[in-house]
Amino acid sequence: MISTWIWNALPGPALVRVLILLVAIAAVVFTLFEYVFPWVSEALNVQETTVEES
């Protein structure tokens, strides 16, 4: 299981592991919201509002 493997790979007591996980999740979500999702949204082309030559 990936979750078990990640948990065991983290150092320190449970509280420290939880904190590390929270920081890591926040960093991943930030990257997704600011860089990955904007790119995906443009590539998907479902929010276009302009008229242009094809």
């Binding site: 299981m1 302009t50 008229v51 030559e53």
Partner: protein, 271 residues
């Protein structure tokens, strides 16, 4: 982690109830399940981001852009901050002798890419509706972060030709969200640093995304030299889709220099 540790953990004294083969088979299914859960979480996050996060972020960013413009009429600022136009005497309105229909408005430098050069007000969309208009219609640079975008090389406000703008109908602050509520005669008001421009809605149509003739200098008649001062709004249709475009055409009423009050149309919130 050092190698011996897991071994000592595994032989931790408990009877091997779910050890060996059972355990490794379970973990293959388990890993697959975890990956599927991760995919579900990512898709859910994307939907949350697109529907809500971009909207909240866009709304705030566009309000900040309007607030940062030092030439926005103070009466408009008051309206935006919730001071009702109906209270006491209300803001001064532009006198009739300063409304021009036949002479050209003061010339303005063609704005640079992403430059915010105008604000747009549509009383039908609420008396607090004030959105920035910036140069360019690419999503990453203009439409997503700045709201309404001006098609490059179309007319500037009040010029003879077609002042063509585009904006999101859903998400990213959705400046053209209520485009379907517009009725013939509704005012479309644009302010630049030097002048007010008042247009009214004339017609609307739903077209294919490739029908660029809707933003031609003479709308829908490409190649014909313009004689009118037009405005055209383009946005997506249906909502949350890119299959078609909703187009609104408007015609010019008058322009007036700034600093002499606001257009009376701004205070007439339609029923």
């Amino acid at each position: 982690m050092s190698a011996p540790a897991p071994t000592s953990q595994a032989s931790g004294g408990r009877p091997p109830a779910h050890a060996g083969a059972t355990r490794s088979r379970l973990s293959i299914i388990g890993v697959l399940g975890e990956l599927l859960m991760l995919a579900g979480i990512l898709l859910g996050l994307f939907v949350l981001w697109q529907l809500f996060y971009t909207d909240i972020q866009g709304e705030r960013a566009q309000r900040e852009v309007v607030e940062s413009l030092d030439w926005v009429d103070p009466a408009v600022d008051d309206v935006v901050q919730g001071i009702s136009a109906g209270e006491s005497t209300g803001p001064e309105t532009i006198p009739d002798d300063l409304k021009y229909t036949d002479i050209d408005p003061p010339a303005m430098d063609y704005p640079g890419f992403t430059e915010t050069f105008a604000t747009m007000m549509v009383p039908r969309w609420g008396e607090d509706y004030v959105k920035p208009v910036s140069e360019g219609v690419t999503r990453a640079d203009v439409l997503d972060p700045l709201g309404i975008g001006h098609y490059p090389d179309t007319a500037l406000p009040g010029e003879i030709g077609n002042f063509a703008v585009s904006g999101h109908r859903t998400t990213y602050g959705k400046p053209f969200n209520a485009v379907a509520d517009l009725q013939v005669g509704d005012s479309l008001i644009v302010q630049t640093e030097d002048a007010w421009f008042v247009y009214h809605v004339e017609s609307w149509e739903i077209v294919k995304p490739t029908q660029v003739e809707v933003i031609a200098p003479t709308p829908n008649q490409p190649g014909v030299a313009p004689t009118e001062r037009s405005i055209t709004l383009t946005t997506c249709h249906p909502m949350f889709s890119a299959a078609e475009r909703w187009i609104v055409h408007g015609t010019f009423d008058y322009w007036a220099p700034t600093g002499h009050g606001v257009p009376e149309e701004l205070l007439e919130v339609p029923a």
